[in-house]
Symmetry: C2
Subunit: 315 residues, 2 copies
């Protein structure tokens, strides 16, 4: 059986094994792993950019690639309620790559890292056919701030920290050689972690995840890990007018980008009713006992069967 037949999450289920060590608060199955080191909670994650899959030098500058490599990992640490501290950078480099390109990637990584007080403490370089940038990030989280995917409770409201769909809209503008829409394109080229938006009210959040593969997919992850279901109110999904226009320009619906696209890196979080006034964001749905993630629109609910972006499946 080929990996393209079972997809990314099918594969994760096949290789999953529960961690045995008691110091491991959270292993495989969240935005980052959480381990107890002395009296500290350490957050560890890794995310990879592959040329051609995650970026193209046709429209990304090398600095932007470097920034993206850092921001996507900061986003994962932030989605646990954590603050990043150290990074390791593994590069797989084609032999004919220009040294200046690598220097610019590093310059972008450091510019992004400096925003967060993050230090690159090590890494590895080796040769391959295709440029691969793998960043490992280590951060810390205060116990009261820790937000796991599995902490959503029936009755919780689902929030998203900002507008969705712009990154996928930007990508599709590039793929279709559409001029204009610079703001939307920039959302694709310069994604950034949104942890600062939720930091003031972290302790009121139950479950949290970042939007890397689309709202539908992220809410599904929360539901699977929390053993609950959810309904998403289609009309409430925050999408900017320019994102809608950009989608329309390539014959697509921006709501699909928001639900099934990805790389917005906004945070999706659940909050119990009693804490509704303590948080800020866009209320886009509700957690409930009934399993499955449904989309509510015009008085009707439909089960969302489609997944988010999957690196191995075409969807």
């Amino acid at each position: 059986m080929k990996v393209s037949e079972i997809g990314e999450f099918g594969l994760i289920n096949r290789i999953y094994r529960k961690a045995k060590d008691k110091s491991i608060i959270k292993g495989i199955g969240d935005d980052a792993a959480v381990v107890k080191i002395g009296n500290k909670l350490m957050v560890v994650t890794t995310d990879t950019l592959v040329e051609g899959d995650h970026f193209s030098f046709d429209y990304f500058s090398a600095e932007q690639v470097g920034k993206k490599a850092i921001e996507i990992n900061v986003s994962d640490v932030g989605a646990m309620g954590g603050v990043p501290k150290y990074a390791l950078v593994s590069l797989v480099l084609p032999k004919d790559i220009e040294v200046e390109v690598i220097e610019k990637i590093y310059s972008g990584m450091r510019e992004a890292g400096d925003k967060y007080g993050l230090e690159i403490i090590g890494g590895n370089m080796t040769h391959g056919n295709q440029l691969v940038i793998d960043v490992d990030m280590i951060g810390f989280v205060e116990k009261k701030n820790l937000c796991l995917r599995g902490d959503a409770k029936p009755g919780d409201f689902i929030f998203v920290s900002g507008d969705l769909g712009a990154s996928t809209a930007g990508l599709n503008l590039f793929k279709n050689n559409k001029s204009g829409f610079m703001g939307v394109k920039k959302k694709h080229l310069e994604p950034s972690a949104k942890f600062h938006k939720v930091k003031p009210f972290l302790k009121y959040i139950n479950a949290m995840i970042d939007v890397s593969d689309g709202l539908a997919s992220e809410v599904k992850h929360i539901c699977e890990e929390s053993n609950v279901g959810a309904v998403i109110y289609k009309e409430n999904i925050p999408i900017k007018p320019e994102t809608r226009h950009a989608a329309k320009a390539v014959g697509k619906d921006a709501v699909d980008y928001a639900l099934y696209g990805g790389e917005d890196f906004e945070l999706v979080f659940s909050v119990s009713e009693k804490n509704l006034k303590k948080v800020r964001g866009f209320l886009v749905g509700e957690i409930r006992k009934k399993k499955g993630v449904y989309l509510y629109n015009n008085g009707k609910e439909e089960l969302i069967s489609k997944g988010g972006y999957d690196h191995f499946k075409v969807c």
Copy 2:
């Protein structure tokens, strides 16, 4: 300028920046980074296997690839005097790879990990043209056991923990389709970390590094970081008879494999004269003030100008 013109270490020098944070005991420039977390010293490293560069399924089984991915990182943690604890696994997978191959790679990783009480706590999977396995490893080291490359002192003796050259000999047997020499071939297919050999006398070691790129290259790294020079006694380099025979079978000299080959994962360490009797291993040279790494043979010394294995240069 292409990366192949300046090589791996030229590139590292170009992107190097000294870490500013005081919690960073050792950043870029050793087998692993070392950071202070509360009252613990944490060791963090990452190493990558690329199909075609670091292994070929023509002669490696998927389990062996998985084991190798773990052992090379355990070796790096061990070279700091540390004990591994957690790993993250980043995979870049071609879409047509069989699920069973990935399961076997994981099975190999877990078998190797279980030897060390190591847990895989997370990772990432994405798509690419070429199979890439990147492992990030986190371990801990007791302060008295920490061995940095930069701690060698003039007058120290240089030891190696075991015989060298077999892995490169094995690789060249495969590349030349030579039958036989199963023991030598196995050294290439199933490398293992050698930390257990030095563990009993860690506190008597000054500088340490593992042999991933050949003895000459590793001694150079120690010398550069310690701001010293060294002489290696050619006759003393431990090479097994079967390694010599295997090298001869493809028209090569096993001493070259030991000096400039790699992946033996034995440990090279320096020890001051007063502690000579406290350690075990093969005495292969001496640290001295005079810069440069020299090879002593038949009453003559020659400067070793050639580097070790470099992923970007042909050497």
